[in-house]
Amino acid sequence: MDETMRKRARLKTRLTPYGFILPACLTILLLVVYPILYGIYISFFDTNLVNRWNFVGLRYYLQALTDTSFLHSLWMTVIFTVSVVAGHFILGFIFASILNMDIRLRTIFRGILILPWLFPDVVIAYLFKWILNTQGGIVNELLMHFGLISDPIGWLSTSATAFPCVILVSIWKGYPLVMVQILAGIQTISTDMYEAAEIDGATMMQKFRYITIPALKPILTTILILDTVWVFKQFTLIWLMTSGGPGSSTMVSAIEIYKNAFSYFKYGLASAQSVYILVICYLIGVVFRRLLRDD
């Protein structure tokens, strides 16, 4: 009697943690793991998702590797990701460091600088489309008013300017999250460290290099990995501003794949290409963690 009760109690303690994680894990299993497995499954089929299911093996995987438009889109995605993430971190670091100083109106500055994060991608995409518009767009109007250009420039419809514009807008939209994370991290660093360094005659740069960076490293690693994969998968802003055009000058992989699936109904190919994206994102995570491991 005593024995069974004790056993039951022990079993209950052992199961408690699983009780806590069950709802989340069940949802993830059903709505993250299952769809992904299903997506991988589709990548082996020539299918319309209804009644045509022809097994084609690895054909789409091989096809994607020689598909110039897919490879081009990957290259565009790399350029896009590197520029945007660099922009996020440079701005995030600068603003967070200044906001951490003893300055007046800090809350107001911080509140304003966070604003871009609070607006939906859709809103930001159309706002900048309007600002850069050829007919009545304020940028062209101002440039013409001051005689810098004689005819309006199609900022988003010229291949030379479309990609830089999309990159700038993406930086503008996304830096606040990085800034907030870095700010939160900086505030956990004890001021004693800086004061001690100051007594020892450390310069600003030295303090930054030897106190701020090491203390922030764990936070930075996580947010760097997440920001990189989020930007790598960016869809909405680019889709609504240029739809990948003009030509293929802003055609990142997310848009290329979306078009394959929903404009050309090549579901199998799109899924195979998605699997490549998944693998690349995973490798990015692994590499960053290796590089930034503290040992």
Binding site: T16, V32, I112, V122, V123, E141, I219, A270, S271
Partner: protein
């Protein structure tokens, strides 16, 4: 240069950078506000530069409300996003607590898997979601979108809550257990109240993420009566001629909820993120 003047110089540069940064944020946003107050003639007829509306008007806000079922769109968004935020954050808080307080088989795997889920391309999930929702007759329903959105926010929210719970000393849990409190009771009445800043930051994050979502809403909610506000804006622009003043109006309306939530809860945000940005 004395130390004091040097410090003043640095601070001066700091103010300068912040001011420039704020202008870069505020100028585009104020253009949205100005455009929304302009009449269509102001936008199409003016030759040359006309920064401000000739007669600022709120009639766009009235007209747009008449021409489009804005209230329905907002309701759809509120139900799907609000519901998914509650559902997602409850799951995330439970899971984050479990992960932070117990060690058990598979814990390390779950923790790293939470990060890996962020790497799954959205396009890859969209086809299966569509099929699943059609199979269970939940496509074009707010409940369907609610569940999908919850699955987006759970992984990262769990991660945030895990970080916050880890920053709370376990001594209280021990004391409560000695006093005979059950595990769930300890979680709900002892630890959770201490985790409110983290919880609020997580709520803000989940709400923002899903309120802003576009791609899945556009595929899963094709029915006009079921559109979310963010998706509805993009369909307004698809029309034959874009009416920028209407569009900017709708854009402002759709941004009100996130702004309101942020203003109401912003003092928690930085504090909640502090521990939320965790190390592994």
């Amino acid at each position: 240069m004395t130390k004091k003047t040097k410090n003043n110089l640095i601070r001066g540069i700091g103010y300068l950078i912040l001011t420039v940064g704020c202008l870069c944020v505020l100028l585009p946003l104020s253009w949205m506000v100005i455009t929304s107050l302009k009449s269509m003639t102001d936008i199409t007829m003016t030759k040359g530069i006309e920064l401000f509306p000739t007669g600022p008007t709120l009639e766009n806000f009235v007209n747009i409300w008449k021409d489009y079922p804005i209230a329905t769109y907002i309701k759809n968004s509120v139900v799907a996003v609000g519901g998914s935020t509650i559902f997602g954050v409850v799951c995330a808080a439970l899971c984050g607590y479990g992960l932070s307080r117990y060690s058990f088989k598979g814990k390390a795997f779950i923790l790293s898997f939470l990060l890996v889920t962020q790497m799954f391309p959205a396009v890859m999930k969209i086809i299966p979601y569509y099929k699943i929702l059609v199979t269970v007759h939940l496509n074009n329903t707010r409940i369907g979108l609610l569940i999908v959105y919850a699955s987006f926010s759970i992984p990262f929210c769990t991660w945030m809550m895990y970080g916050y719970f880890k920053s709370i000393p376990t001594g209280l849990d021990e004391a409560a257990r000695v006093d005979g409190s059950s595990a769930f009771h300890t979680f709900l009445h002892i630890v959770l109240p201490l985790a409110v800043p983290g919880l609020v930051a997580t709520v803000i994050y989940a709400f923002l993420q899903n309120w802003n979502e576009y791609m899945f809403a556009s595929v899963l909610m094709s029915d006009d009566a079921k559109k979310t506000i963010t998706y509805a804006i993009s369909t307004m622009a698809d029309a034959y001629r874009i009416q920028w003043n209407y569009l900017m109006c709708a854009a402002m309306i759709s941004s009100v909820p996130t702004l309101a939530i942020f203003v109401a809860m912003q003092k928690y945000l930085i504090a909640g993120m502090t521990a939320g940005a965790v190390k592994e």
